[in-house]
Subunit: 711 residues, 2 copies
């Protein structure tokens, strides 16, 4: 990208500001585009009919004439646009007609003249734009013009700034991408040329955050390149400030104290059954937390065998975490004491803040926390678990199945569902954290910790919004290169009817923006709560696949068909089995079985057939993942299948072959126990469903692809 | 629709046949269209340049000139099309150029002349066509022309013949329907005019089954009507025969004997453990079947206390069902004996037929069955259950939870998954039937029985194909007016790369055709195995909703958001709560709770709040269905919620108020028991998922809407 002429843009924007406008005129827009190397048609401003004629002659091609007036925003409506003008004479006439139309439309309008512009067309109409999203800030948009973008909303978004590869990914990110690649015998569009325009738009709005909305609509794209036929630039009406973020080191230091505290104070600790302060004390003690536990209660000397203090300030040593279990109205003064004591982090269980309309009290508490540099979780949460420290700072019950996944939830109800699901499935968990009102600590703080936490190898987050989408994306982008991040974004369908003056702005519905930008960050989005939980359970168990070749081995042809359907649904590629491998599989299966993929070993086969084919699937280096379809028979009962599969997979692992293996078990109720057994052996297995195991494998692949790990 | 001129079409088609052609020329196509009142541009055939000039003058508008030659199918490629011809002189010149081009393209081509046609355009380009589907026979297609249909495959299909309402439903059946209704400020298209063309195409291909493919592409549709600019008609190259179906009475008589037999013979009955003939005998006896059971085994006098016969012909009384449990090679002779005995139905468990490549043996067996009028289930099946008769004619284990859903599966593996799922969820079942190779009895035979079976109030079917799609649709259309039919169509993604010479044919991928036509038949399609099972479990429990107004009542705001997402996903309409009802709800919930919809009663509320709001939701006649979101708290524990909900719902039922109620339970593991309790009380409830209860309700609504029961 050539060096943009920032000074030129600065000058134009300052002038617009100075004149009290927030919309640029077309010639101003063109100069901004020129400064950033965004191709536009040849054009000029005519202030007289003769000038229009001269310009038309100079351009030497068919021209379009458009009114230029800061008072006329809807040019077509005002009769201010005439197209297909050929030659100087017709340009002269067009000038006069446009001026007459404009005066008739608005006699008061200040008219700068008529823009005479090379008429463009042909190729494909695309829209390239940028808008300012309340969550993510500057985002760029790309879509095909007309019906596709306006009716079918076939548009894609990315966070600005973006690089060339991300810009190119936008072109393939729309459903109708094929159109641009030469569908229906047309010439393919110059994809690099279009990507370059996207990249420059991204650079422009990044360099000038006061550009609120930016439309190139239409851009005519063909084999020769892309040219923006119309430019619309709107400025922010109020000053732009970026949210302030603590440094990564500061975040990490605070989160480290939260997760690995040497001492925890329980503000509002109680001996009385049913009190939250009682549950928290019990859970900390019974959960096995080995650090110091200090009950705070002015009315007690000792609680559950621990010395109680009237205030945190009375505690002799340092306090890393203060868990609050007192009514909202007492929080401010107790938090001030925490501040005076130098407590690092506060876990704010109480409700009665913003969620009940009491924003004022929450603001007050946040201000206290900021003043003393306390990082605060909540308020309005169930607390949090961190199993490596046997830490259960919640009013729920302890959870002790240690494992690799950290889960967070914005809602308490979803937190309880996480806990129940984890318990019933014995899901291995490193952390469960309630975020509640997210008055301070939010998802990117936690991600920053989990990124470097060797106890965590995957993260699953339920969220309804992001306080600072940009900070989240930056952290997630880094994190997802190493560990999968699953997000359940609730409120998918609450498409904000946003007031927007540009096409791009109007198209930027909440969910589509979230969807595209989370994907850009390498995040795996879960379509629902159950999927989030299943991904959380399964992803940490599966090794990272080394390539795209997925093979189905099934004892039931019927399952094979459904598993194939599920693969397409999950974006998985069924390997095209090479002839020698096909030969090898055929050696083990009956002549009427089907090699190919799915490999149908047929229903009546003994354990040895499952064993031989699974082993072959593991050992052949061209295969990267296995999906097993089991059919309950007397010849190979469920537990026999489960045990042989676990053994063969384990043997392969010991020889350094670790491929993702998932299984669907069709049969009588014994398949439930068999599925559990397989899960215990790091094989993601489900009874009565062909979709779920494949969906979990698909989620692992989505992550691995985005992280660039598939090679 | 005016009376079509069938004689004119017959004459044209006969002439085409007589000339050994299978493609109609454009003028022939126009005459066919005229005969069925399908609007086409004014036109005529010019055999000389002067005639072309005269025609252009007569038409009086811009014309298009096209070569007419049966030897030139690709007219544009041959330089045989010129557009935008204005006036007689230019028409004369166009004629000469086209003839010259055509001769240069193919000197041997026999040229009939040049078609001079009114040039059409403007409005929207749509495609209307018909093709011959291998499963469903004549189907009609509708889509928007260009990119939308060709790249995005935005096209919809219906079985022909169709009525006006079905034709109109096609226009709204495409994703971009909004375009035709006047999106982007355009005039809405004459929808009735387009529907009329669809209806006439449907009538044409129904009246003339030898029309294999039919394209109107493009049809120009605008506010004034629809006009077909190009017509392409291709005929079958071989004679057309319709599949022969037994009469409904005959089907019902046979199925009645299958499901309610007075006596069952087990061919291959055995005392030996592990033999299929042993399992079948045990299951019949232990399952509690009260009719006569006759073991057939030439080597035994008695099996399990029943007199054994050497052959079915030895049995003294009548035999309604013969269950085969002998190797494939012995089937033919034993079936012949059944024929001689006059056995009504045969249940063919053995494998070793078409599924192992032995089509010949299967054909032989089918021929025997046909000869003797025996209806045959299978071969290659697990057998079947019919619980009202305590009938368990399978080699699996008995199933005794009686209830309203009948399930069928084409695959044995899926059948076993049905059985295991049913057992673990205690699903109330009327029948489970294996269809296997479907050599005779298929889905529409069973539907015909279940339609009138008072023990069955819903049907769920797994299928990979339909032997006779048209017979299935006819039966399903009738059935779904009364009872829901759920179909899991496997092989969704196996889009046959079908050889097709028309646009419509090329667009008719298997799955889209199945999807549209199953919907047209009122069938609820399950996206996967687990959904099929959950729909089967839940649909019979839910009463039919009386209208579209769905209300969410939730204790967890977080669940409320996810439940709302799920409603949109499931096509449910969240009721817009009127002010008086809002007032009523507000009386029960804290001031910071949210009325509106979802109604967020907030998390800390006692049982009385759940109770009052659920009762209000049941009692207000404007509300038609309730979705409950429960959040596990100490104040309202899971079983307390389950019991109060079941009680309130039951009380309402006793007063004649029976609305569908579904629930999502977020909490610790106790919510599992609570969900089971609710299910036992006809409330479809699940732990750890917000999606599944809403999906089941959505399936009930999809059925009720298609059945016209929502008013």
């Amino acid at each position: 990208m050539p060096t943009p002429d920032k000074a030129a843009v600065r000058e134009i924007l300052d002038k617009v500001r100075a004149e009290g406008r927030d919309a640029l005129t077309a010639p101003e827009g063109k100069r901004v585009a020129d400064a950033y190397g965004i191709p536009t048609p040849r054009e000029g401003l005519a202030t007289t009919a003769d000038e229009a004629a001269t310009l038309a002659a100079d351009i030497g091609q068919t021209v379009v004439c458009k009114i230029v007036s800061k008072d006329i925003l809807h040019k077509t409506e005002a009769g201010g646009v005439l197209v297909g003008i050929e030659g100087p004479d017709k340009a002269r006439a067009a000038f006069e007609r446009i001026i007459a139309n404009a005066k008739a439309y608005d006699a008061e309008a200040e008219i700068a003249g008529v823009q005479v512009q090379q008429q463009v067309g042909g190729g494909h109409e695309v829209i390239i734009g940028a808008t300012t999203d309340p969550t993510f800030g500057k985002i760029v948009a790309f879509g095909l013009g007309g019906v596709l973008v306006e009716v079918l909303k076939d548009v894609t978004f990315r966070l600005a700034p973006l690089d060339t590869a991300e810009a190119a990914s936008m072109i393939n990110g729309i459903k109708a991408a094929e159109v641009l690649h030469g569908a229906r015998g047309a010439d393919p569009v110059d994809v690099d040329g279009v990507a370059t325009v996207i990249e420059r738009v991204s650079a422009l709005v990044t360099d000038f955050p006061e550009i609120r909305e930016f439309d190139l609509n239409p851009v005519f794209a063909d084999a020769a390149g892309a040219m923006a036929a119309d430019i619309r630039i709107l400025l922010e009406t109020s000053p732009v400030t970026a949210p302030v973020q603590p440094s990564q080191e500061d975040i990490l230091a605070a989160m480290n104290k939260l997760m690995n505290p040497r001492s925890v104070a329980v503000v509002g600790a109680s001996d009385q059954e049913g009190k939250i302060g009682n549950s928290v004390m019990k859970n900390l003690i019974n959960g096995g937390y080995a650090g110091e536990i200090h009950p705070i209660n002015p009315k007690a000397d000792e609680i559950m065998g621990r010395k109680a203090y009237a205030s945190v300030t009375d505690i002799p040593g340092e306090v890393d975490v203060a868990v609050f279990a007192i009514p909202a109205k007492f929080v401010a003064s107790a938090l001030t004491e925490c501040g005076e004591k130098g407590v690092a982090t506060a876990v704010m269980i109480p409700s009665g803040f913003a969620e009940t309309g009491n924003q004022e009290l929450q603001d007050e508490v946040v201000a206290i926390a900021h003043r003393y540099g306390i990082r605060m979780l909540g308020p309005n949460i169930y607390g949090y678990y961190y199993t490596p420290q046997n830490l259960c700072a919640t009013f729920c019950t302890p959870y002790d199945v240690k494992g690799g996944v950290a889960l967070t939830s914005q809602s308490g109800g979803i937190g309880m569902a996480i806990l129940g699901f984890a318990r019933t499935t014995k899901m291995g968990v490193s952390a469960i954290v309630g975020l509640g009102n997210k008055s301070d600590v939010d998802e990117d703080d936690l991600l920053t910790y989990f990124e470097q936490d060797e106890n965590t190898n995957a993260v699953a987050m339920h969220l309804e919004d992001l306080k600072d989408g940009r900070a989240f994306v930056e952290t997630a982008k880094r994190m997802t290169k190493k560990k999968p991040v699953v997000v359940l974004k609730a409120g998918r369908t609450a498409l904000g009817a946003r007031a927007a003056s540009s096409h791009t702005g109007a198209l930027a519905g909440d969910d589509k923006v979230y969807d595209d930008i989370l994907r850009q960050a390498g995040v795996v989005r879960a379509p629902g709560l159950n999927e989030m939980l299943e991904y959380a359970r399964g992803l940490p168990l599966l090794p990272t696949p080394q390539g795209e070749n997925v093979v189905i081995i099934t004892g039931a042809g019927g399952s094979g068909v459904l598993l194939s359907d599920a693969c397409v649904e999950a974006g998985l590629s069924l390997m095209d089995i090479p002839p020698d491998l096909d030969e090898s599989f055929r050696r083990y299966i009956p002549p009427f079985g089907a090699a190919g993929n799915p490999i149908d070993i047929t229903g009546g086969e003994p354990p040895s057939t499952y064993e031989a084919t699974i082993r072959l699937g593991l050992e052949d280096p061209r295969i990267h993942a296995l999906i097993l379809g089991y059919w309950h028979t007397i010849v190979t009962p469920p537990m026999v299948f489960a045990e042989l599969t676990a053994r063969v997979v384990e043997e392969a692992r010991q020889r350094g072959i670790d491929k993702p293996v998932v299984a669907s078990l069709a049969g009588d109720t014994e398949v439930e126990k068999a599925s559990d057994y397989l899960f215990d052996h790091r094989i993601v297995a489900y009874p009565y469903t062909t979709e779920r195991p494949v969906a979990v494998l698909g989620a692992k692949y989505r992550w691995a692809r985005a992280a660039g790990l598939l090679g």
